[in-house]
């Protein structure tokens, strides 16, 4: 299924950080949704700021508009405030994108575990993310670092 772009994506001013405060709020909210949706669709978990500038999300070649590095940073900061992003380095050049927050993953996994009646069993992380049993579950294929984070606050043992 191909990714469906929101109407803003083809609206040239969407790629200019808006001077009006209220409009900017709406713009950033839309950017956050778009970035997360795009990452979810392509199962992306990390983003590099430099590389992102060339990614189709932030660079719409068809209308010849792209978000500046500064604007991308602003969007990322918004995502961080919402709990959907974590910086991997002090220079803020790479980040982890959590289009689902760790707690949400934890809940999903726990629901699956109780569904299959496996509470109180032992799983390896590998079994959970790559095992045959979990194929078809949303968390199948989930990267290890996020699995680990999702266990925080969820009582598995």
């Amino acid at each position: 299924m191909s990714f469906e772009w929101p109407w803003q994506y083809n609206f040239p001013p969407f790629f200019t950080l808006q001077p009006n405060v209220d409009t900017r709020q709406k713009q950033l909210a839309a950017w956050c949704s778009l970035a997360l949706a795009y990452c979810r669709h392509h199962k992306l978990y990390t983003l590099d700021v430099m590389e992102s500038q060339e990614s189709p999300v932030f660079n719409n070649k068809k209308i010849e508009r792209k978000l500046s590095t500064e604007a991308i940073q602003v969007v990322f900061e918004e995502l961080r405030k919402k709990g959907n992003l974590d910086w991997l380095d002090k220079n803020k050049s790479r980040c982890l994108v959590m289009w689902r927050r760790p707690e949400e993953w934890g809940k999903l996994i726990y629901q699956w575990v109780s569904k299959v009646g496996m509470i109180n069993s032992v799983f390896t992380l590998y079994e959970l993310s790559n095992g045959d049993d979990t194929e078809g579950e949303e968390f199948h294929g989930l990267e290890e670092w996020i699995l680990l984070r999702s266990f925080k606050g969820v009582k598995f043992f």
């Binding site: 929101p6 109407w7 083809n10 609206f11 040239p12 001013p13 969407f14 790629f15 200019t16 808006q18 001077p19 009006n20 209220d22 409009t23 709020q25 709406k26 713009q27 909210a29 839309a30 949704s33 949706a37 010849e64 508009r65 792209k66």
Partner: protein, 245 residues
């Protein structure tokens, strides 16, 4: 005492009274014919927009406004008042739902499309004339509604943003391409740069325009209300969550 011209004055008065009496009788007759017509064609009026236009025009010639008030013969007998009242409510709903996108400005075309969509396949036929009348009613009730003529149709304004003649004229200029620049304003309207910028800043401030600083040459000011791609897109659940209360 000298009462000069008494005879002439009294006769003139009497004549006038007679004429008025005859006229009022004629109006009474005409009105009752109209009532009869209305009751016979009540269904037609509700279902057929062409019919409604003609009926409205007929009423206008005798100085009757079927939408004048909620109560009263016309609206009760015909349900015409109900029809436009319900339409007004629908219009408000559509405008509210899209306000976060277009700042409270929408083309009559898009409004029409969405109202029809909202009424479903089997709903009564609603014309743009119907919308214009309903909006005029809303405006008269002080709901912050207004209509700006652009490019042969209208932009419907649903928030009481302060728009004066200068703003209106720039909106009309922007209608062709969906955006406008300072140069275009200076060229077509012969304004000074400062006046042009002032108007554009105001449109930005009211949330009616967005700035595009990556356009070749000079910044472009785009109006979401005129962006044609918008009209086909529904409000997604994501968007709905983003709407400021």
């Amino acid at each position: 005492m000298h009462r000069r011209g008494v005879g002439a004055g009294a006769i003139a008065k009497k004549k006038l009274a007679e004429v008025c009496y005859i006229m009022s009788k004629q109006i009474e007759t005409f009105k009752s014919h109209l009532e009869e017509f209305a009751s016979k064609h009540k269904q037609e009026i509700r279902k057929n927009s062409q019919f409604r236009v003609q009926f409205q025009e007929m009423c206008a010639t005798i100085g009757v406004d079927p939408l004048a008030s909620g109560k009263g013969f016309w609206s009760e007998m015909l349900g015409v008042g109900d029809f436009y009242y319900e339409l007004g409510v629908q219009i408000i709903e559509v405008c509210l739902a899209l306000k976060h996108r277009n700042g409270g400005l929408i083309t009559l075309d898009e409004l029409h499309q969405r109202v029809l969509k909202g009424r479903g396949k089997y709903a009564q036929d609603v014309s743009q004339d119907d919308l214009v009348r309903a909006i005029k009613k809303l405006k008269a009730m002080g709901n912050g509604f207004g209509m700006i003529p652009v490019g042969g149709s209208y932009l419907v304004q649903s928030v009481p943003a302060e728009l004066n003649m200068d703003h209106t004229v720039v909106l009309q200029l922007a209608e062709k391409k969906g955006y406008v620049t300072v140069s275009e304003i200076k060229e077509h309207l012969k304004w000074e740069r400062e006046r042009s910028c002032h108007v554009l800043d105001h449109l930005l401030k009211e949330g009616l325009a967005w700035l595009d600083s990556q356009a070749a040459g000079e910044p472009q000011y785009w109006l979401p209300a005129l962006f044609s791609e918008i009209s086909s897109r529904d409000v997604t659940p994501d968007e709905a969550n983003q709407m400021t209360p």
